[in-house]
């Protein structure tokens, strides 16, 4: 019952006219940037963070919610019309969606993606609103050893268990952990790995890493290949409305996708790839017209797209209640919260209740705005896809570097950005996943301090992790999840592509 009261209060904050405008701006720029090819939600949020720097925390977080959902929606538009999924989770959407667009059914494909996303996000946000307080009640009882166990699970699942190659995933994670070491140690005040550079004492900014790896790395890889593979968007012909048959073939996949996506997203298991692939396979089995799969089956867009959005709302559960990001997007969002001096976790619900519930209510509002704005504006989004690649990437680089120097005006920061860009380029070239590096950077220092606080409380006795059944079980799960893919090679059949 409390949830409803809090949610009601949240809506009271969110429907303030200024906040509504923030939400609308967030949705529009989020979609506009998310539509651009090669830009997934993680990069969208990272690029647009500076826009929200100077607003008050409430307003910027509400704008943030709009950017997040807008970026998600924009990604699916690109996947359908351009066949260049901006993130791993829309790879499946591109399979059928692009085929539909090629057959002149781009409109219905976009519509089923938009309405499916709406339905999924709506149900999943309700799930978030009711699940989060329950989880918070459990989470306040967590000791540092439990957090350490949880982070181990997140590390392993994000990097090793579900990637194409556990070795490459773990290497990416190790890179993030290594960057997380840089800077002044919180407990003893010693500098780690700063090499005498004063700018490194504060550590590496998550947004600099994310923008470097995603934006600069992407620009480098596209430039290095573009001579060989030019892409053109498919024009949206005919009606954008769905026929009666489209509706009857779509609504069940939407719901099934939602119920697959939300629980998996809410687990600290990392990523929306698994629910989208699961949903795709289920829809192919259940479809009345399985022969259409591969040639533009609407179920193959409706289900995965709903699963994608539901799991995105699901990742907010561990993010808000435990401070545990399980995807690159969530890691960047956590960095955003920290920029406003808000630390997600169980205490957030006690200390900033109005903020959390304002955010949850804004997610509902952003979701409605997306539906209202996106379908009528589809012509505009298509026009954005037609920006010539040279100008597009030149503009992205200008904006990316602007965000970096606005946050931290120093040449060292720009050099870091460039360095991360080169690393991102090499990681893409040799097929290393990028999300584990971002998650490693943000979770590494947290895991370090959880570990050390546990050991301080136990006076240095490592048995503390096994004494508490909860942390013992979680560490056990993490170990199994780490070892399993090496034993059962078949488990790694879930290909994790780039965010």
């Amino acid at each position: 019952m409390d949830t409803l009261i809090y949610l009601f209060q949240g809506f009271a904050i969110a429907i303030d006219p200024a906040n509504l405008i923030y939400a609308a701006i967030g949705v529009i720029i989020g979609t506009a940037v998310g539509v651009l090819p090669g830009i997934g939600p993680a990069l969208t949020v990272a690029l647009l963070l500076p826009v929200t720097f100077k607003l008050d925390p409430g307003g910027s977080i509400i704008m943030f919610a709009g950017i997040y959902y807008g970026g998600m929606y924009g990604g699916s538009t690109t996947a359908i019309l351009l066949n260049t999924p901006g993130e791993s989770a829309s790879v499946v959407t591109a399979l059928e969606g692009n085929q539909m667009a090629r057959r002149g059914r781009g409109g219905p494909a976009l519509a089923t993606a938009a309405i499916g996303s709406f339905v999924a996000a709506l149900i999943a946000t309700v799930g978030l609103a009711f699940l989060a307080p329950v989880l918070v009640k459990v989470a306040v009882k967590f000791g540092p050893w439990d957090y350490f166990g949880l982070m181990l699970i997140a590390f392993v699942t994000v990097s090793a268990t579900f990637g194409s190659s556990p070795l490459r995933g773990l290497t990416s994670l190790a890179f993030g952990l290594w960057l997380g070491l840089m800077g002044i140690d919180q407990l003893t005040g010693q500098a780690r790995l700063t090499f005498g550079v004063p700018e490194l004492l504060d550590g590496v900014e998550v947004t600099t890493l994310a923008v470097g790896l995603f934006a600069i790395g992407e620009a480098l890889i596209v430039a290095s290949r573009h001579l060989y593979k030019p892409e053109k968007p498919i024009p949206v012909k005919g009606s954008i409305w769905m026929t009666k048959e489209d509706w009857s073939r779509s609504w069940k996949p939407w719901l099934r996708g939602t119920f697959i996506g939300f629980p998996i997203g809410a687990l600290p298991a990392g990523g929306a790839e698994i629910p989208t692939f699961l949903s795709y396979n289920i829809e192919r089995k259940l479809s009345r017209k399985p022969e259409e799969f591969g040639e533009g089956a609407i179920e193959g867009v409706a289900g995965p797209e709903a699963a994608n959005n539901a799991s995105a709302a699901g990742t907010l559960v561990p993010l808000l209640t435990l401070g545990l990001p399980t995807s690159a997007t969530a890691a960047v969002m956590l960095a955003g919260f920290q920029q406003y001096n808000i630390q997600p976790g169980p205490l957030l619900f006690a200390q900033h209740a109005d903020l959390v519930w304002g955010l949850v209510a804004s997610l509902f509002i952003a979701n409605v705005m997306l539906l209202v704005l996106n379908l009528p504006l589809v012509g505009l989004w298509v026009r954005l896809l037609k920006i010539p690649l040279p100008w597009l990437y030149a503009g992205i680089l200008v904006f990316a570097s602007m965000g970096t120097i606005a946050a931290n005006p120093s040449v060292v920061e720009l050099l870091l950005l460039t360095g991360f860009g080169v690393v991102g380029f090499l990681m893409r070239r040799f097929d290393y996943p990028i999300a584990p590096a971002v998650v490693g950077l943000i979770l590494g220092p947290l895991a370090d301090s959880a570990l050390r606080r546990s050991l301080q409380m136990s006076l240095g006795d490592p048995i503390v992790f096994l004494q508490h059944p909860s942390s013992a079980i979680m560490i056990g799960i993490a170990v199994v999840a780490l070892v399993a893919p090496f034993i059962f090679r078949g488990l790694s059949r879930f290909q994790q592509d780039e965010d």
Binding site: P50, V51, F53, K54, S165, L167, L170, T171, A174, L177, W178, L181, D185, L187, T188, G189, Q190, R192, L193, F195, I216, A219, L220, V222, A223, S224, R225, H226, L227, P388, P390, W391, Y393, A394, G395, L397, V398, F399, S401, M402, I405, A406, P409, V411, L414, L415, T418, G421, F425, R429, F430, D431, G444, L451, R452, L455, Q456, S458, L459, G460
Partner: protein
């Protein structure tokens, strides 16, 4: 060299293994120089040693995979385009470093990046980049009061 490539199938993996070993060594060396110890529990060095060991293990893993056939296809790379983007980013960095300001830097960044993607109309791109830079500068510096680096051009605005 030729005898080496006869049994190293995956040369990138071998190079990455060496880089990972180097990072492990640097991290180990950095941790070994830290002096403050915790009274009980673990000191700040423990995480460094852990990451160093992790890197060493991953390096060993890469070394092993270097002797297996490569499972990632090697795509061709247009190094000239990569070089242009490198030039674009250095243009920005030098401009900021030398006090040239944000607008000059982003103009160079824009024009050289467009060149990397095969555009030949350099003068047009310079103008476009300058306009974009000015718009971003006005929007973020004046409207959102973010401190972007100032140069001679910015002081005029």
């Amino acid at each position: 060299m030729t005898s080496k490539s006869a049994f190293i199938h995956n040369r990138p993996a071998a190079v990455i293994a060496i880089v990972l070993f180097a990072i492990a060594a640097v991290t180990y060396w950095d941790a070994s120089r830290m002096v403050v110890r915790a009274t009980y529990g673990m000191s700040a060095t423990a995480a460094s040693y852990f990451v160093a060991i992790l890197f060493a293990i991953l390096a060993a893993g890469h070394l092993i995979s270097a002797f297996k056939p490569n499972d990632v296809e090697n795509e061709e790379v247009d190094w000239k385009a990569v070089g242009w983007i490198g030039l674009a980013l250095s243009g920005l960095i030098v401009s900021i470093w030398a006090g040239g300001g944000f607008i000059l830097g982003s103009t160079l960044l824009f024009a050289f990046t467009a060149r990397a993607f095969g555009r030949k109309a350099f003068v047009t791109d310079i103008c476009l980049g300058a306009i974009l830079g000015i718009i971003i500068f006005l929007l973020f510096n004046k409207l959102l009061t973010l401190a972007l680096p100032m140069g001679p051009l910015e002081r005029l605005l």
